[in-house]
């Protein structure tokens, strides 16, 4: 393993320190924790939004802390959910008495740890609610699985629920709009090459020189199947077909598109994929109102990408277009 680290035990701590030193005007660490919160007054007079998860997905989630998006983000060890005490610290740091919404990606560990923290906070009469993002169409949503995973679509939940909270909406209203995003957002990813978790020291799965893994999650877990590599457009079609088969996106609809890099993919490749995605959607009469291309929800050094579609209505469109000012997402 060849990595630019100083020791596997210090990665998260040094990464968070580097993040707050890079963006002191946006974020600071809540002392003694792995929680990143907005710089200055933490308790703004609005519903507070908290997200988090394992590290290794940067800029998620600390990069989305700031005006118009999150109030705090909790970082766990690499690919490991943060613990309940840390989430509880985040709740305490940002609750202004208007309630707290936890935005959780659907993984067994994340859900358990965030729920335990919510239970702890409710014992102190803090109003806490949660939404669980489950946008990954690669995996079955059935009684035989834990339900779909939460992946890059989570960024749209941060953005839109964040804008709603900033407008001064109540906790049930912010939750409702977050649920509307979750109902209308779908994603799917693939990998050309696996990632290497630093503490493990070897790739999370092995691929032959001419193979790709379709339907990967964001933690180096293997995907749904392997196939021979073809070309970018064919690969994008594979993902897009599965997303469109959900039946949510049809002729005349307006969508937001995200072509998300997994961490080790050149932007050049993401842009050329987006060229094709835009053409396919146009061919189907689906109007693209907004496009995001870049590394929004990564998986360490994995090479690959995911596609996310979000169907918009007037409310979601207005909230998506609202200003946001965070280290990793700015729009004015």
């Amino acid at each position: 393993m060849k990595k630019l680290i100083n020791g596997v035990d210090n990665i998260v701590d040094e990464m968070l320190n580097g993040m707050v030193k890079a963006h002191p005007e946006y974020v600071e660490r809540v002392p003694g924790t792995d929680v990143v919160a907005r710089t200055g007054a933490k308790k703004t007079d609005k519903v507070a939004l908290i997200s988090g998860g394992g590290s290794g997905h940067e800029p998620a989630h600390g990069g989305y802390v700031g005006r118009g998006m999150l109030d705090a983000a909790v970082a766990g060890a690499v690919f490991t959910s943060p613990t309940p005490d840390q989430v509880y610290e985040a709740i305490h740091a940002v609750d202004a008495g208007k309630g707290v919404l936890l935005i959780i990606k659907n993984y067994t560990g994340d859900v358990m740890n965030f729920e335990m923290a919510a239970d702890m906070a409710r014992d102190e009469d803090i109003e806490v609610d949660q939404v669980i993002v489950a946008d990954d169409v690669a995996v079955e949503n059935s009684t035989w699985t834990t339900g779909r995973r939460g992946i890059a679509g989570t960024i749209f939940v941060h953005k839109i629920a964040g804008a709603a909270a900033e407008e001064g909406r109540s906790l049930p209203e912010v939750k409702a709009v977050a649920e509307k995003v979750i109902a209308n957002v779908r994603s799917m990813g693939m990998a050309v090459a696996p990632c290497t978790v630093p503490a493990v020291g070897k790739p999370s799965f092995e691929l032959e020189e001419d193979e790709v893994e379709i339907g990967i999650g964001i933690h180096g877990e293997p995907g749904t199947h392997r196939e021979k590599i073809t070309d970018a457009n064919t690969t994008a079609d594979t993902l897009l077909d599965k997303i469109l088969a959900e039946g949510i996106y049809g002729e005349g609809d307006e969508v937001a598109v995200m072509v998300n890099g997994m961490g080790g993919t050149p932007l050049m490749e993401l842009y050329l994929i987006n060229d094709h995605v835009a053409d396919v959607l146009a061919g189907k009469g689906i109007k693209v109102a907004k496009t995001l291309v870049g590394n929004f929800m990564t998986s360490l050094d994995m090479e690959g990408f995911s596609i996310t579609l979000l169907k918009l209505d007037d409310e979601l469109k207005a909230l998506l277009d609202a200003p946001a000012d965070t280290p990793a997402f700015r729009q004015f």
Partner: protein, 207 residues
Amino acid sequence: MASAIYQCIEQIGSKIIEHKDFLTELDREIGDADHGINMARGYSEALKALPQEEEDIGAVLKKTGMTLLSKVGGASGPLYGTAYMKAAKVAAGKKALTLEDGKAMMEEAIAGIKMRGKAVQGEKTMLDALIPAYEALTEGMAAGKSPYECLADMCAAAEKGVEYTKTIRATKGRASYLGDRSIGHQDPGATSSLYTLEAIRDFVKGL
């Protein structure tokens, strides 16, 4: 001198730390390759945090649970943390345990894991080692076997449970996304549960 309960936790921790790489390797095959790393970190921290001379078994188990909860992460942290904290309630204030106490603690721990994990037996989880182990312990006690024999039966049943996890498909946790591809692999959580029970058995043998 360290209390008996501290020495017992130390023995469990040593066993988990010794098998750290194997547990991680099992998790790499069907999960996200961190089970051994996370569990070893949790026990190392717990052994540092525990009061070595505290004899109140409930207090030591509660502290163990709280530390695992805050240091392990993933799903294992809440599950093992809950298990220890539930067992701690049964042992609160006690300085010695009977086999009957041990059985009651295990029953509470299993109930806690089911509640937190929203899981039942047969889903390729730690419950597939723990539930048969509990049943074997109960049967051994009913048959009037010695405490060590009961614990040996308990571990043998847990080991069979771990073997059983190789034959079934995961329907809970991250491995569930693999569908039938999870068949043939041994569940990491069931395996760390087996190590925990074996360490308890060996500790009791050494008393």
